[in-house]
Subunit: 188 residues, 2 copies
């Protein structure tokens, strides 16, 4: 299980055996069931999650409809990063869309780990840099592209995820209606 | 001029005199005129910019209309981060909306500087983390909030910037029409 995490980190930095042990010492394993809530709106996001198996979803609910901001299938990281790093109540919820195996890290442990293993800080600099790049592109997509292009991008971003999760979640991620999404998928 | 940069970095890390000198050694000062293009679509984004004075804009143009992805007034950082870090042709343009004073850093210098001064890597980890948090919130805003709420958020995010730049740019950042934005502003 930790091997999946180490492989993910190894994409950007090369860890020694001692550094891997230090990481393992600061994280926890967590198993959650489908539909389980990991973060409720108004609560504090205390964890940064790495998904070993399954899929998490970060979304907002305004009393009428849900807006999906992020999916995290295998090998993705998940958190309400503002709530997590600024100790602020979250405006988002996090739920498991499938039974999931997670590795989680608490804020203080995360800080200590980055102090102790500078390569971990490098890894997160690169991870957040990628997240920033991803959102720059997605922002352009949502503001200027039609539903068909948005859906094509989703397929590239999350290969085969559409086979695992409900259409309504994908529609709420792309800013289109479920009916519209269904039509696009039928037409191929 | 460098003091503005050092104050910005000091928000997150405390630099020694030697570290400040190392930073100064790796960056360049640049003055650009209003309407000057710093990055053209299809070109490689070679710099990460810090804005000392003036305002930059990152946008996409699809042949019909422009989509503004980011404004960078004083104390903001600007780059097409994917093009800059992956050496890929950019899908965006960067232009100066006002005469501007910038501090720029090239990719290799940026890498060397982070190797030499780990606090600089920490600074960028935190900077990208903030950018990620900002886009998570903006994504929710664009996907689920009406024009009035989007405009209110813009005012908080970029205080007084609306007095300095054309309405069409703000409208293209918020995903609303210029006419609609004009109506909101009139109604106060």
């Amino acid at each position: 299980m930790y091997n999946t995490l180490f492989s993910n980190i190894a994409k950007h930095v090369t860890l020694t055996k001692e550094e891997m042990e230090a990481i393992q010492h600061h994280v926890q394993y967590k198993h959650v069931r489908k539909n389980e809530t990991l973060l409720e709106e108004g609560a504090y996001c205390r964890h940064l999650y790495f998904v070993v198996k399954g899929c998490l979803r970060l979304f907002a609910y305004d009393g009428h409809h849900e807006t999906t901001v992020l999916f995290a299938p295998e090998n993705w990281w998940m958190s309400d990063i503002e709530s997590f790093t600024h100790n602020k109540p979250s405006i988002f919820c996090i739920e498991a869309l499938e039974d999931a195996e997670l590795i989680s890290i608490e804020y203080q442990d995360w800080q200590r780990l980055m102090e102790k293993v500078p390569k971990v800080e490098r890894f997160f600099r690169i991870l957040f840099q990628h997240a920033f790049a991803l959102y720059q592109r997605r922002m352009n997509l949502i503001l200027s592209k039609d539903a068909r292009e948005r859906y094509a991008w989703f397929g590239k971003q999350y290969p085969k995820l559409e086979l695992r999760i409900a259409q309504k979640y994908i529609a709420s991620y792309l800013g289109i209606t479920t009916v519209f999404l269904s039509n696009i998928r039928k037409k191929g």
